[in-house]
């Protein structure tokens, strides 16, 4: 049988088996779950070669699946992060309710994302897209908190996006008579202008929702923070990348082909920039780690969107590189939050503090991911940001680069808040019982954070697949052109490049760190965090000295005018207004039988009066 279909069947069968295995044995269920994520992922990389395809005919539509380099690139995110999160999830979810639902939806999400990457026609793309949507929706409401507000909001926005996409799909079908993406790409340059504008707009709306772009991002914080953290790392890390995946395809294969595309690119790039700023500002304000990371995801996706929308070779590389890096570090960070939540039961910065000595490995993973997120060399985030700035400047987006840079600088604020809130600060007696998370949770985090380090030091490892992917989309070989424009991108050994510099840096780094640490440990004495210089006052054991309320109060005093306006409120008012309108409209049904009879007679009379015009 075809390996593509095999993978789908394995996923689906695994999901169903896992769901029901919970009735028999929890351990068996966990093992089945791991198997049904890892085995298809393994098959994907061993059995599937580039260009391998499968078809399935249904309802007169041929569903077409095939693997190309671009999909392969994103499969690294989906399956790699998915596998790690799966290992993490088994330990994270131990002892929770409704395990079957969790595992089922987890596997379905991974399957649908793999399906999206393999889809070569719009219908199967849409089907997998929707499966992804509802499986992630079910995860969003898994905890049972705020299902009516957060869950519905997520689903409504997803549905708006998906339906916009569906509208574009039927538009394409009515023009080309085919659902194949290939046909769309071929027919697109010759379409009439209206269609040339509407189809990308609708498709981009669909993708922008998943990628949490600015006016459509309001679902993200709630949904990300409400899902179980083991899933959120996939949700934010991989699932949002599907929006990026679609956007890249739309930009590269459609919008870049028409002269009017410049407007799309500018508008979306600016929206990405604004998304980054807004996401960052709101992330700084959050006191809950999940919310903070959720807003941070929005902001990071803003960078990615900007990079992709700019659309120069370097910008695309930057966007996609950042996408992979974001999957890595945000996946890790959500896992960190999950570990903290598992061990302490809360994720609020104002409650938890001083876990560093209790959860050192978790802290290590968090530290590396935060460094990557902040874009500090030598971790991977820097390379992406560097390329982004370079591309913004070379493509004459001078103000945009300021905007992006501002949000990137402000990102340090929440980066620090995250590390400080959980791991640093006073070690309170309340959390003295906390222990390091189980090994099955720590190992994926550490592996991912080491990966970040590797990719930051040798970005060429990742850049050549990205380049292959872009070529698969019909882009020129950007990789080769970039030899001249920059040197940071090279792989091993070519040119005089960043690597020696990085080695230098690492050498200095290690020298100082090792020297000072060794020297320090010999001569310094550990004291508890209660022993601080507090004007001679002796803090009591149960006295909470940690500074965590109103953490960035001065900053918010400075940016207060920006924060006053909230898109969320606008949507809320819109929704409430609509519901009030509907409430008014249903008063048509008065409940009085006679009124209904009068409606009938009125209908007849009106029809008789105007029937000649209406029915002719």
């Amino acid at each position: 049988m075809n390996p593509v279909l095999n993978i789908f069947i394995l996923f689906l069968g695994g999901a169903i088996l896992t769901y029901f295995a919970g009735r028999i044995n929890k351990v068996l269920q966990s093992l089945l779950f791991l198997a049904s994520v890892l085995v298809p992922a393994f098959l994907f990389y061993t059995q599937l070669s580039i260009g391998q395809s499968a078809t399935f005919s249904v309802d007169g539509i041929t569903l077409n699946w095939s693997l190309n380099y671009f999909g392969w690139l994103f499969s690294l995110i989906v399956l790699g992060l998915g596998a790690m999160a799966a290992i993490y999830a088994v330990s994270y979810m131990k002892g929770k309710q409704r395990l079957g639902t969790f595992y089922f939806n987890f596997i379905l999400s991974i399957m649908s994302m793999t399906g999206i990457l393999l889809s070569q026609d719009l219908i199967s793309f849409f089907i997998f897209w929707e499966i992804m949507t509802w499986s992630s929706y079910l995860m969003t409401i898994y905890n049972g908190n705020k299902v009516q507000s957060i869950g519905i909001k997520y689903f409504v926005f997803s549905a708006i996006g998906a339906y916009a996409m569906l509208m574009a799909i039927v538009m394409v079908h009515s023009i080309t008579g085919s659902f194949l993406i290939k046909d769309l790409i071929n027919a697109y340059p010759t379409m009439q202008l209206g269609m040339q504008i509407w189809i990308p707009v609708l498709l981009l709306t669909g993708f922008a929702v998943k990628a949490a772009m600015m006016p459509l991002h309001v679902w993200a914080p709630g949904a990300y923070s409400n899902s179980p953290m083991a899933y959120t790392s996939v949700f934010s890390g991989a699932l949002s990348k599907m929006g990026v995946y679609g956007m890249t395809i739309v930009f590269v294969t459609l919008i870049n082909k028409i002269p009017q595309g410049i407007w799309f690119r500018e508008v979306i790039a600016w929206m990405g920039g604004i998304t980054a700023v807004i996401g960052t500002l709101w992330a700084i304000k959050q006191d809950d780690a999940k919310k903070l990371l959720a807003y941070s995801s929005v902001a990071q996706l803003g960078y990615i969107i900007t990079g992709i929308a700019i659309g120069t070779e370097l910008a695309l590389l930057a966007g996609l590189f950042l996408a992979v890096m974001h999957a890595l570090f945000k996946g890790t960070l959500f896992m960190v939050v999950g570990a903290v939540e598992k061990q302490t039961g809360t994720t609020n910065f104002t409650e938890v503090s001083g876990l560093i000595r209790k959860m050192p490995w978790t802290f290590f993973a968090a530290l590396l991911s935060i460094i990557a997120l902040a874009g500090i060399p030598p971790l991977g985030g820097f390379v992406g940001k560097w390329m982004l700035y370079e591309s913004l400047i070379t493509s004459n987006h001078y103000l945009l680069v300021i905007v992006i840079f501002f949000s990137s600088t402000a990102a340090f604020l929440y980066c620090y808040k995250f590390l400080f809130g959980f791991f640093l600060g006073q070690e309170e007696k309340e959390w003295s019982h906390v222990k390091e998370a189980p090994a099955a949770m720590v190992v994926p985090m550490v592996i991912l954070s080491l990966l970040m380090f590797v990719l930051g030091t040798f970005p060429g490892i990742l850049l050549s697949p990205i380049n292959n992917g872009l070529q698969a989309l019909g882009y020129t070989d950007s990789y080769k052109n970039l030899w001249e424009t920059s040197v940071i991108l090279n792989g091993w050994g070519n040119h005089v490049v960043l690597q020696p510099i990085l080695y230098y840096i690492i050498a200095i780094f290690l020298f100082f760190v090792v020297f000072l640490t060794l020297k320090g440990y010999k001569n310094t004495r550990y004291v508890t965090t209660k022993d601080i210089s507090s004007s001679g006052e002796i803090p009591k054991e149960d006295e909470n000295l940690t500074f965590s309320e109103n953490f960035y109060q001065p900053f918010f005093r400075a940016v207060e005018p920006v924060m006053r306006r909230q898109i969320d409120k606008f949507y809320k008012n819109l929704g409430e207004g609509l519901e009030a309108l509907f409430e008014f409209m249903r008063r048509i049904y008065t409940g009085n039988g006679q009124t209904y009879a009068i409606y009938v007679i009125a209908f007849v009379v009106i029809m008789l009066l105007f029937g000649n015009y209406l029915l002719k």
Binding site: R525, V527, K530, D531, S533, S535, G536, E537, I538
Partner: protein
């Protein structure tokens, strides 16, 4: 090389010279004597030219300057601050009150002799001591540091039990955490 006795001596001399010329003062200014510090630091007397400079926290300070009397209440804080400072550290008793209680000699709630509770390296006499006296006190301290005789901290460590007993006499409900330096 460093462990060699002679070179250790040279190192000691250099270090003591540095310590002598860089005195970061943490002033415990509850008593009335604190009023004499600003003139000491500002342009008229300018203690900074001697390397004397204020420190914000005990971790960074070299000298604990106790300006005036200590009460039974404030002693606890002072002890804690002193113990938080890092070796080598010095105590300067400022004003008569720290020597013998001064005008509070028969007060029921002040500490008369500071030396019983903390190892004082230099006393500065006077009520109040003028800035000149303060400068002279610092000069004395510098002298002692240069000679390597300002080892109050060592004395405190060696006679800790005696000091503790004295301190506990004054502070009935002793809830200080134990420090294991």
């Amino acid at each position: 090389m460093i462990n060699d006795k002679n070179s250790q001596k040279i190192v000691d001399i250099i270090q003591n010279w540095a310590r002598q010329h860089s005195i970061w003062v943490l002033a415990y200014g509850t008593g009335c004597g604190a009023i004499e510090l600003p003139p000491t630091m500002t342009s008229r007397y300018d203690a900074e030219r001697l390397g004397v400079r204020g420190a914000a926290t005990p971790r960074q300070a070299d000298v604990l300057l106790i300006t005036g009397y200590l009460t039974t209440k404030t002693l606890k804080r002072v002890i804690r601050v002193y113990e938080q400072m890092q070796d080598p550290k010095y105590v300067v008793g400022f004003g008569s009150c720290t020597i013998n209680g001064g005008m509070y000699y028969d007060s029921y709630n002040t500490i008369k002799v500071l030396d019983k509770y903390l190892p004082v390296d230099v006393y500065i006499n006077g009520c109040m001591p003028r800035p000149e006296a303060v400068l002279s006190g610092f000069a004395k301290l510098q002298e002692r540091i240069a000679e390597g005789r300002a080892e109050g901290a060592k004395k405190y460590k060696e006679n800790l039990e005696w000091y503790r007993a004295n301190q506990k006499k004054i502070i009935p409900n002793w809830v200080m955490p134990d420090y294991n330096w």
